[in-house]
Each structure stands twice: as C-alpha cells, then as structure tokens.
Symmetry: C2
C-alpha cells in the first residue's frame, strides 16, 4: 500500500465506501461499512473512517511519508454530518478546487477534505454527492451540454451548459414509491415481488405524456384491484411506472432535444434509458462507482493530491 496517493470516500446517509487510489489513478483497495451519516454523531465520524482505512494508512505510514489526503463527497458534509460544509450555489462548475473544505482530524496521518454540495436559490433545491458524480462524467466530456439524470430515491435532473451546472430539480420518485407502497392504502394492492413489464411500460408512457395522470390514478390502482381483479404485480409495476413516467414528463425541459447521461447502478436505470431512448438525441449510462471515483479524482487533482488527473 506504499504507492497509495490518496483516499476517496463516498459517504452517504446509509453507507461509507472507501477507495485507496494508487499512483496510476487505479483503485488499489476498497472497503465499505454501514456507518452512514444517518447513524453517526459528529464525534463518531473520524473513528468510523479509521475503522475502515486503518490497514491502508498503517502500512503507508510505516514508511514515514506525509499524511494521506482523503477526499469525501456526500452527506458527510451535511448539517448532521462530520462537519457542515456550506453549499456552493449554481450556476457553477460541479467541483471547484478552492471550495473544498479541510476538516481537522485528531489522527495526523490523514488530511481530511469534504467536497461541498450545491444549492439553487429559486426554485430552492440542494444536492450532496451528485455534483461529484456529475464532475466525474464531465471529466471525459468537458464541453458537454445536455442533461445528467441520477435516478433514485431523490432523482436529480441536472442541466449542463458547456461543462457547468446551470440548474437542477430533485424529484422524490423513489421515496414516493417507497412510502406509498409501504405506508398508504396502496400497500394492500402492491404486495408482490413479481414484475409486469407491460403494465410498467404502459404506465410510464401514460404518465410521461400526461404527468398529472399519476396523481389522478394512484387511488385507481386500489380500485383496479377491487373492481377488475388487477394483480399485485400489475399494480406494483404500474405504480412504479406512473411515478417514473411522472418524473420524466415533468423533467422534459431537461431532456427534450438534448443528450442525456444517466448515472446510476440500480435496476431502474435501464428502465429510464429505455423510456427515453426514442425521445432524446442520445442516452448513455454511467456506473455510479465509476462516476464517483472520477469525480473524487477531479477534486484530488485540483487540490494537487493526485499525481495526474
């Protein structure tokens, strides 16, 4: 581990993922834990990190080299995180060298940096972590103009203008699916792990053409189960399709007549790609891990910690 140049952290609400980056920019080691921001008090962050990376820095520091730089993105910089790092306001490039916050540590073998999230004033919106993934995508596409979409619990649609973020919108699509299917009357109607691809696609089509259809027909899922004996897998797939279609329809100003980059690793990413394929200039899909690592490398390079990038 003596050739480790820096450590990258993707530190979200539920997980901490750490990557030891070697001199060639390659991932030398990686490790993860469930010590997400959501479970930690401020004093717990440094121990939680050391738990994970101790073997890497122990090996390196026996050689007497300098402290290892660590770059972290995500909710670690939130108000409830290790240290609140103020948002940078859009429009702006996704990562800026002079706005990466150095956080003091008790352990002098590490030099901790947290990347700021981004905020938008009107309409009010925020992100923490997605800006780093956007930076990772833009590393290979520095003059990109188009949309970046990160589907998920809180889907982000980001407008990119010549490599800069000009605006973004968060849709609570994944969380709406979760709360409706777990806590609303629809929970009785969507009790299935099976999938009805046809019902999903039809619902995406309906709701993306007419986004208001989703809210209008939510209760209709229950009614369809009662009156038409619609199956739980049909209702579940249709609920998912209505909510994703609603997001796509509402976000059309982001993707209409533009290229779209989807960053994500979940099973929904191909569904987004499929739904958009015929309606946008181009769709490409980038893996979350690759985008995050590339974005952290941008931060490390801008800070002079990486030997190249």
């Amino acid at each position: 581990m003596t050739d480790m140049e820096w450590i990258g952290l993707d530190w979200g609400t539920t997980n901490l993922r750490a990557y030891a980056i070697g001199a060639g920019g390659q991932v030398a080691e990686e490790a993860s834990s469930g010590n997400g921001m959501g479970t930690l008090a401020p004093a717990d962050f440094e121990p939680a990190l050391l738990d994970l990376i101790e073997p890497w820095i122990a090996a390196r520091c026996r050689d007497g080299t300098d402290a290892v730089p660590v770059f972290a993105c995500g909710m670690v910089g939130a108000r409830q995180g290790w240290c609140e790092v103020p948002y940078r306001e859009v429009p702006c490039p996704p990562v800026a060298a002079n706005e990466i916050t150095r956080v003091p540590t008790r352990d002098k073998r590490i030099e901790m940096h947290i990347l700021p999230g981004l905020s938008q004033r009107a309409p009010a919106d925020v992100m923490r972590g997605e800006e780093t993934q956007a930076a990772g995508f833009l590393l290979e596409n520095p003059r990109y103009t188009g949309a970046i979409c990160l589907p998920g619990t809180h889907s982000k649609w980001i407008a990119i203008d010549n490599g800069h973020i000009s605006g973004f919108t968060t849709y609570m699509t994944g969380e709406l699916f979760d709360v409706l299917s777990s806590h609303s009357i629809l929970r009785h109607t969507v009790t299935s792990d099976e999938w009805d691809e046809h019902a999903f696609r039809q619902a995406v089509e309906e709701a993306s053409a007419q986004p208001q259809r989703a809210v209008e027909t939510l209760f209709g899922l229950r009614a369809a189960a009662l009156v038409d004996n619609a199956s739980p897998e049909t209702c579940r797939s249709r609920l998912s399709g209505l909510l994703i279609g609603q997001e796509l329809g509402l976000a059309s100003r982001y993707w209409s007549d533009k290229p779209v980059a989807l960053i994500g690793s979940s099973a929904t990413v191909p569904l987004y790609a499929q739904a958009l394929a015929s309606r946008v200039i181009s769709v490409e899909t980038v893996d979350t891990r690759a985008a995050t690592l590339a974005g952290l490398a941008v931060a490390a390079a801008k800070s002079g910690a990486a030997s190249h990038g």
Copy 2:
C-alpha cells in the same frame, strides 16, 4: 326509545357511529365506538354493533314490536367488512332501493341492511359511504347539476348531472400529506403544529394554477429549510397547500363554471371553500353528520322503514 323507527350506521374503517331515528325523523339517541371495519373479523361485526345499540333495542323490544331496521353505509360493506356488498356502477343515482343488501343476523331483533358503494370502470375508481352523503345532499337538491367534493384522506370529486352521479375521481390528498410528513425525508422539515396561513394560501394558489408544481417542489421544502431557513410551520403549511392545490387544479373539470357542494367536517373544508370561492358559480358547505343522516334516511324511506322521508 319506543318511538325508534330505525337505526342508521356510519360504519367506516376506524369508527362506528350509530343513530336511533324516531318517528319524526329526528335523532333520538346516538352512540359511537372505535370498532371500525379495520379492526374487526367478519364474526365480530354483529357483536360490535349490539354492544353499541343493545340499550336501544332492549327498551324497544320489551314492547314486543317487530325487528328494528338498521341501515349502514361505509366500509362495513367492503370485502374485509361484515359482508361484501357489490359495488353499483356509475352512472346511477347515489342510492337505489332495490340494491340495498339484507344481511342475516343471529339476533332477530334487528334487520340489517348495508348500502352498496359505487364503482367506475374507466378510469377505475370506487367509493363506499360517500354515495350516501351525496344522496343526503341531493335529498334537498333533487335536480342538482354540479360538483360534490368530500375533502379528506381520500378526497372524492363527484360529478352530478340532474341528481345522478355521472362520474368521480379519488385524490389521495390527505394520505399523501400523512405519509410524506410522517415517513419521508420531509418529516424532518414539517415538525410543527403551528400554521402559516400565508404560506398555505400561496401554495394552494401556485399548485391549483399549475398542478405539476406540487410534485416538482416537494423536495424543495427540504431545500428551503436548509438553504433559506424556512420554518417547520411554513414548510408544513406549504406542503398541505401544495397537495390541496394540486387536487383542486387536477379536479378543475369538476368545478369549473359549476356550483360546488363541499361535504365534510374537518378543518380543511373551509380551506377548500376559501380556495374555490372566487372561481366557481357557488360554494356551499354541508356537515358530514347531517349529510350521512339524510342519506341513510333516503335509504330507510326507499325501503319503507321510515314513516316519512
């Protein structure tokens, strides 16, 4: 209690409300319990009812009169209720004498009837109980053409054409507010029992003019709390206003250029009335209890159980 002609029941998911109706149509006695449909197995319904009305029928039956007719509306007729009563399909009048289901009882002192709910085929929708309240309103307004709205957990908008129900839509407005404010990330943002009337009104106005604004700006409530220090009461009132405004905007085909009758007793009813006032031909508000009693009286009269009605 010897002049009791019939008993009316409003038997929903969470409560059972019983009314002893005298010869003049007046409420002689009333009682209620938490024995809603949601907590009862099929065999529990009759005992739960007798628990509540035993004193009334005991007094009456000492005189050796016939069994007392009981008319019930609501979820008592659902698949998980006392006895599943098939939906009647719209278009139809809200209550029809020949479609009230007689349910056998072990106790021969009562003659149990359950009013059917209504279904709509396309788009699929259902109601149980609201049709009885609509019938109660129409008793005084037999030729009514316009909208009836019952705001609530599952708000109903009902189109009435010359006293008949021509169609309806259910909006999960109240339940969306509940699941979002209790189970989503917004729960951190809406922790207040206070009310910001200005924020509420502004949100109703925004979302009723552009219903898609609600879904677009949900996450923005969290962002406004983080970035603009929006207070919990402002965010809570705004969440409520966005969802009610969304419902009003989507339901505009029901109320636009028409009279509207609001049936309800919750604190949200005046808010609906206020939001609609300047945009519809007329708005009147009818109390839930009065509408339900009048609707049950329609059923009793059609079945020959009531001496007038």
